[in-house]
């Protein structure tokens, strides 16, 4: 494979995956509005297109056409950089996520993953940790006390919960013996649902910790204090309008999808079928290739559904409760999980 072919194939993959991701973001917003609507016993958006299916496109057009205000008091370079940073980091993560079997496409290029990095998990954690700056700088450069308070809350929350999040993943890494996302998925895929890390791998507590930390990491309810409307107007993006506001909005939903992808890969068996070998693999090559993508999307969808369900159900935490929960409950639990997993692995001998 020549370098030109490599570049062309990579560009094609990036273009396709980014388009799918942005469409996913748009329709996650619609899914949320629909589901929260049903939870509150109303219909949600229903006027634009059948079942309101065209609503995301209209919303996007609206964001583009709105007046783009830049308040006079802001610190301009960082004010403009912040939304780019937030959305950029949210979209980069998908680059290391494998969403199908390691089949080889034309001219030796692996399909279904943009790049197969052998420290995939660390790359995801690293990019997520850089994403904090988007929010922090947005709040600070806006020169607005509500924005600043939202940004301060957000960075404190992210730094605290990143610890629990990272520690909860150690058990999974210990079981797989690798940081490569493909190896982690293949290790838990031998017997279908029974060998998934969340069931057969005894990583139930790790999954619980990851779930809580992930809600906090993506600033979602019940941990959405950085944008608590009743106290902070809109939190860190109070001063943003038009497409810049939309970029923060998209970053939040892209992060939800990322979290769903990581949970799917680490705990729910990735792209493999939950029934293991009970269903024989389909004969047709195309169906055979697309089957894993179906399972992957279905798992991510279930995770997003859970996300929105929680948002529609639980009230918001108080800030001291949030910090206590993170440091006094999740952290020790995560460390105990590492200890338990290591002892179990040492006893059974790997």
């Amino acid at each position: 494979m020549t370098i030109l072919q490599f570049i062309l194939w990579s560009l094609l993959k990036v273009a396709v995956v980014t388009t799918v991701m942005l469409l996913g973001v748009a329709y996650t917003v619609l899914l949320e509005r629909k589901l929260v609507g049903r939870i509150q016993n109303r219909w949600g958006p229903s006027r634009v297109g059948p079942f309101g299916l065209l609503q995301p496109l209209v919303d996007g057009a609206k964001s583009f056409l709105k007046e783009d205000m830049i308040p006079t008091g802001v610190y301009k370079p960082l004010y403009l950089l912040a939304p780019i940073l937030a959305l950029g980091c949210a979209l980069i993560t998908i680059g290391v996520v494998p969403f199908g079997e390691p089949s080889v496409g034309p001219s030796g290029m692996p399909l279904f993953q943009i790049s197969d990095v052998n420290i995939g998990l660390l790359v995801i954690l690293g990019v997520t940790s850089i994403g904090v700056y988007g929010i922090a700088l947005a709040g600070w450069s806006s020169n607005n006390k509500y924005s600043l308070l939202g940004a301060l809350r957000s960075s404190a929350q992210l730094v605290s919960y990143e610890l629990a999040l990272g520690l909860s993943l150690v058990g999974v890494v210990l079981r797989a013996g690798s940081l490569n996302l493909r190896v982690i998925v293949e290790q838990q895929a031998t017997q279908g649902m029974l060998t998934w890390n969340i069931f057969g791998g005894m990583q139930f507590f790790a999954f619980f910790i990851y779930l809580m930390a992930a809600f906090a990491e993506s600033n979602r309810s019940p941990f959405d204090l950085p944008e608590a409307e009743s106290e902070l107007v809109a939190g860190y993006h109070t001063e943003y309008s038009s497409m810049k506001f939309a970029m923060f909005f998209m970053a939040e939903y892209a992060n939800m999808i990322n979290v769903g992808c990581v949970a799917t890969l680490l705990f729910l068996g990735g792209w493999t079928s939950p029934f293991g070998n009970l269903i024989p693999p389909p004969e047709n090559t195309l169906v055979h290739a697309l089957f894993p993508i179906f399972w992957f999307s279905a798992k991510v969808f279930c995770f997003l559904f859970l996300y929105i369900w929680v948002r529609g159900t639980l009230p918001r935490f108080r800030y001291d409760q949030l910090m206590n929960f993170g440091w006094r409950i999740l952290m020790p639990l995560a460390i105990l999980n590492i200890l338990g997993t290591s002892l179990w692995l040492a006893y059974h001998g790997s």
Binding site: V117, V123, V132, W140, L152
Partner: protein, 170 residues
Amino acid sequence: MHLILFILFAGFCLAGAINLLLQSHPINSALSLIVVMVSLAVLYLLLGAEFLAAAQVIVYAGAIMVLFTFVVMLLNAGREEHTMGSRVARSVGFPAVVVILGVIATVILHAQGLGAARDTDAITGTEELSRVLFTDLLLPFEVTSVLVLIAILGAVALASHGGGERTGPK
């Protein structure tokens, strides 16, 4: 390809470092430091030390520098004034820096004989790195962790002596 990337990111690194000194606003300096850290991570990556590169981004750029910016934001530190420095600093400082750099450069050149760094003969992979860290270097590793623990305990002790009001019920 390696050389181009090296020159590019070494350039970023130096530019970030110089910008760090020239900026008058603390938050701009903090952001330049992040640029330095991330370009260093890329240089590690070029040497084949991918674990080190990821750790550099997660720990330095993602955690420590977040706390730096956090403090700058919290104190809302303003713009600092540039002075031209004292006459002593200009007349003694700059020659001293040049001399020190020269000494360090000659020592390094003599010690290693100016060889190019290869990515084959060093311990770089995650597995080899952790094997060395947890077998041959176990004692230094544990001693370092005790040192960090002492620092944490010290911070807690200092904070609890302040007598500030407790936040919220237990």
